[in-house]
Structures are given as C-alpha cells and as structure tokens.
C-alpha cells in the first residue's frame, strides 16, 4: 500500500472542511482521527451507513426473547410458585426483567460489535499514535495514488491550513 500523508489540524471545523474538499477533489481518504466524534464526518468522508443500529436491534430482540422465555420456563414449568394468587404466567411480572435484560444485551452487544467491526481491543497500539489525535489535534490521512501525487497531497493539505504534515507508513 502507498504511504500516507497526514495533515494535522487544530479544530474539527478545519478537519471537516478539508475532508469534504478532499472528497470533492477525488483524493483517496485513508481515514480521519479526532479526540471526539464529529457530527457530519460520516457524510464528509462518504462512509456507508453503519450497521451498528441494526446489530443493536438484533441484540435487543435476542435479550428480550431470552429473558421472556427463561422467566416463562422458570415460573410455569420448572418451579411454579403461587404469588398473591396470581397466575403462573402473569405477564406484567415478567416485563421489568425482560426490559432490563433487553437493555443489557443491546448495550453490551453494541459495544462488542463496535470493537469487532473496528478491530479494536484493549492494549491495541493507537493508529498514528504520536500525532496528537488522542490529545487536541485533528488528523486527515490521505493516500497517494494515480489520481494525486505525493507533492499534490502535500500542497492540498498546506492550502487547507494544516499545521504540520507527516509522511507515514500505512501500518504505523
């Protein structure tokens, strides 16, 4: 893979503007890095909609089904108990636990799916570690290719107001 040209910006607005323009010019955007999520960045980078929402729904439905069926099995088949003369399969009593377990599964499942989709794990080396994206800097990483030479990328980042420009290997 070609080497990356990383522009370092001082605000998310500058990063967003540079990213939009890079996409308009047809440059290859490797990725952007920022200390916090930026509204509108998906659109600026032209990313596909995330599947995370649907995965979350799937985990939620799994949790709901598990919680309802387990409680039903316990209170109707395995260990029926007479509580205040109510029927064994009294559905209102099942709902609070079903609700909590739905939320738990949706939450934990979404985090796990996010980590898996982004290939993140504890102890993983941060991408472009030394360049300040974990601190207060906003990075735009462009990839040189047939549509733009290294020199053109450098000039583009400069005109966009990058404070500094680094050339890095793609796996660093």
């Amino acid at each position: 893979m070609n080497r990356l040209w990383v522009g370092i910006f001082d605000s998310h607005e500058h990063l967003l503007r540079a990213t939009r323009l890079a996409r308009q010019r047809g440059l290859t955007i490797h990725d952007t890095y920022a200390p916090f999520p930026i509204h509108g960045m998906d659109e600026a980078m032209g990313l596909e909609p995330s599947p995370l929402g649907w995965l979350c729904f799937l985990f939620a439905m799994t949790g709901l089904t598990l919680a309802l069926s387990f409680q039903y099995w316990v209170s109707v088949f395995d260990w029926p108990m007479n509580i205040g003369g109510k029927s064994y399969n009294a559905s209102p009593a099942l709902l609070p636990i079903a609700f909590e377990f739905t939320v738990l599964c949706a939450g934990l499942g979404s985090v796990a799916a996010f980590l898996f989709l982004r290939r993140l794990s504890p102890g993983k080396k941060p991408a472009l570690g030394g360049l300040g994206a974990l601190d207060d800097r906003f990075l735009l990483a462009l990839q040189a290719g047939p549509e733009a030479s290294a020199e053109e990328l450098r000039r583009f980042l400069q005109t966009q107001g990058a404070l500094d420009i680094h050339e890095v290997a793609p796996d660093s």
């Binding site: 909609p49 729904f57 109510k86 209102p92």
Partner: protein, 386 residues
C-alpha cells in the same frame, strides 16, 4: 404592513371558524341533552389543548435552560402554541363556575357529605379550592410564559443579548413552577374524577403524555408550515432531533404508564385497583389495551430507524398516530368516570373539533404576528448549520 404568510389560507381560516361554530353547537346540544357528557367533553378537549400550550412552553424553557442552539430556528412554533392559554383559562373558568357538579362527585354536597373518604379529602377537593388553585396556576403560567415570548420577540427589534440570559433565568423559574402547579392541577382536574382513587405517579404519567404530544404537534405544525413554503431553512438535522424527542418521550410515557399499572396490579389493593377495574369493563378494555399500542409500539416501530426520523412522510405518520393516541389516553382517563360504556357521539367529536379549530386559529394568529425566523437570536447561526 403587508399580511404575513401563515399556516392557513384565508378560506381555510373560514372553515376553522365554522368548526368552532360546530363545537359550540355540540356543546349546546350536550348541555341540553346530556350535561355530564358536555362538561366531560369540555374538560377533555380543553385540557388537551391547554396542555399543548403549556408543554410547548416547557419545551421552549428546556431549550433556554440548557442553552440549546439547534432549536433557535424553530422557536416561533412553540411560542405561537402558547397563544391558546387565555382561551383555555377562560374555559377552565367556565367549567369551574358552571360544570363542577355534573363532573365531580366531590363537588356535589348530596353525595359528598355522606362519604367519609370524601369528607376526609374535602380540604383539597372543594369548589372554592378548585377555583382558587386554577386561578393561581393559570395566572402564574400566563405571566411566566408571556415573559418568555415577549423577551424572545423583543430581541428581534434590537438584538440585545441580555434577552437570552433573561429568558434562561425565567425558564428555570417556569420549569420549577410548572412542575409544582401541573402536579396540583392534574390531581384536581383529572384524578379527582375518581376521588376515592389515588396514584402518586399520576402527574408524571400525565406529563409524559402532554410533552410527547406537544412535540408531535410542533412537528406536525412545522411540516405544515414547510408544506406552505415557510421555514425553508429547516434541514434534516432539525427533523431528526424532533424525531428523537418523539421517540424518547413516547418511551417515557410508556414507562410511566406501565409503572403505574404494574405496582397497582402487583399489590392488588381494592382502593387502588378500582381505577383499572373501571377500564377493564366491556367496551373499555379494547381501548385500554389499544392505548399502549398507538402511543408506544407503533411510534417505536415507525421511528426506530435513523433515516425515518429525517423522512417527512414517516415523521408525519408518527405525529398523527401520537396526536390521536394522546386523545385516546385522555379519553380513557376522563370518560370511564362519566359513562358506563364508551360512547363517541356528536357531542364529544364536535366539541373536540371546535377546540382544535380554536387552538389552530390562535396558533395561526400568533405565528403571523411575529417574523417566522428570530433573525437576531444569538443561536440562529448555530441553528441554521445544524
């Protein structure tokens, strides 16, 4: 000065005036044939639209108190929704002076004086107390809300930033006053229809309903205004945020609806279950179980996806379902105390239509009075790029 564009064309305003006339006719027929139905219809309809005016102001106050920027572009809509308040206050007065005996058991000396529970509650449930509480609450709401709207519109003239700070302070006061006064009137106006019964979560539950309904009506009015070519600056981001509000507060309503039901079902004490027993009677039970479906399950499915909150047609469908659902919710709070079986005739429908027309006309009038976009609001720039 040239006439500003509003939500309705002049001929549509004439139709709305005819609807008000139909409402008056329904009320007159009701007073003649079945006074308890007429007063219950007035209580339901007036509470519906008065609470829209109030919850619109609550929405506005929440945005001011939080220093929210996204909302500046839309704030003229809830501001204009509060214009129903004086009409609603007048109708509360009419009901308080003439209709109490037909509606509330505790207001009738013949029944109340033999009832030990009602005698014990007489310090709270009595006619002068009802009138005094209503007058104090309505006056407090009127002055606080008028202050909010007047400051916001005065800012259009000179762009003074002090108005925003003033409104943030006023909003905090209003939110506290609202929480206390609304709890009081919700018990006195609605919960006391069944004066033997009580539920401490009732005002919360009612608030969940009126708030989601106010956001639904606000969204509907915004979509209608856009249909008329007004507020073209509104972007998908604004619709998305309104959709999120609808989604979240429909869930809050469901949470409170179920919380009240669960605890009463679980402890199974006769003085608490009497409320639900009335709603499990023939005819009512279908409506009772339809209530969580229209107010929670259908909007939940409609609004779950991110893009459905940005899509005007799906958002419109969700607002219409919620607006109808909130009517059903209130119908189930009021009418089981009045009628043995559900009944929806000319009296109920005509009066609700008339009050809806009055609300819309007041909204339209107030919306046309001020520029549709608060051009000097310090948050407008942020809102335009939302």
């Amino acid at each position: 000065m040239s006439e500003r564009e509003g939500i309705f064309r002049p001929d549509q305003r004439t139709v709305l005036r005819l609807c008000i006339a139909a409402g008056l006719a329904a009320f007159a027929v009701g007073l003649w044939r079945a006074p308890h139905r007429a007063w219950a219809g007035l209580l339901l309809g007036n509470f519906y639209f008065l609470s829209l005016a109030l919850a619109g102001a609550v929405f506005l106050a929440v945005q001011y108190a939080a220093g929210a920027g996204w909302f500046a572009l839309l704030k003229r809509i809830p501001e204009a929704m509060t214009a129903y308040l004086p009409v609603g206050a007048g109708l509360v007065g009419l009901l308080g002076l003439c209709g109490l005996r037909d509606l509330y058991v505790w207001a009738n000396p013949a029944t109340a004086s033999n009832d030990p529970i009602l005698l014990a509650k007489a310090a709270f449930l009595n006619v002068p107390g009802y009138l005094l509480t209503a007058a104090v609450c309505l006056l407090l709401w009127h002055f606080l809300i008028r202050g909010l709207v007047a400051n916001s519109q005065a800012q259009d003239d000179n762009g003074d930033l002090a108005y925003t700070a003033k409104n943030a302070r006023l909003s905090c006061i209003f939110l506290v006053v609202f929480a206390l006064t609304f709890s009081l009137v919700s018990m006195q106006w609605l919960m006391s229809l069944e004066p033997h019964w009580y539920s401490t979560i009732y005002p919360w539950y009612l608030f969940g309903g009126i708030f989601v309904n106010a956001v639904a009506v606000m969204t509907l009015l915004l979509l209608l205004l856009r249909h008329r070519g007004l507020l073209p600056e509104v972007r998908a981001g604004h619709l998305h945020d309104l959709g999120e509000y609808l989604f979240a507060f429909s869930a809050l309503w469901a949470y409170l609806w179920f919380s009240q039901y669960l605890l009463i079902w679980y402890s199974n004490i006769p003085e608490e279950t009497v409320h639900y027993a009335a709603r499990f009677g023939p005819g009512w039970n279908i409506l009772f179980w339809a209530n969580p479906v229209v107010n929670f399950i259908v909007p939940f499915i409609l609004l779950l996806e991110e893009r459905s909150k940005k899509d005007e047609r799906r958002l419109l469908a969700a607002t219409l379902v919620l607006i109808a659902g909130h009517w059903l919710d209130l119908y189930l709070l009021v009418f089981p105390a009045i009628l043995p079986r559900p009944l929806l005739g000319f009296i109920e429908l005509g009066m609700f239509l008339g009050l809806a027309a009055a609300f819309l006309l007041r909204f339209d009038q107030a919306f046309r009075r001020a520029p549709p976009i608060p051009s000097r609001d310090p948050f407008l720039g942020e809102s335009l790029h939302h």
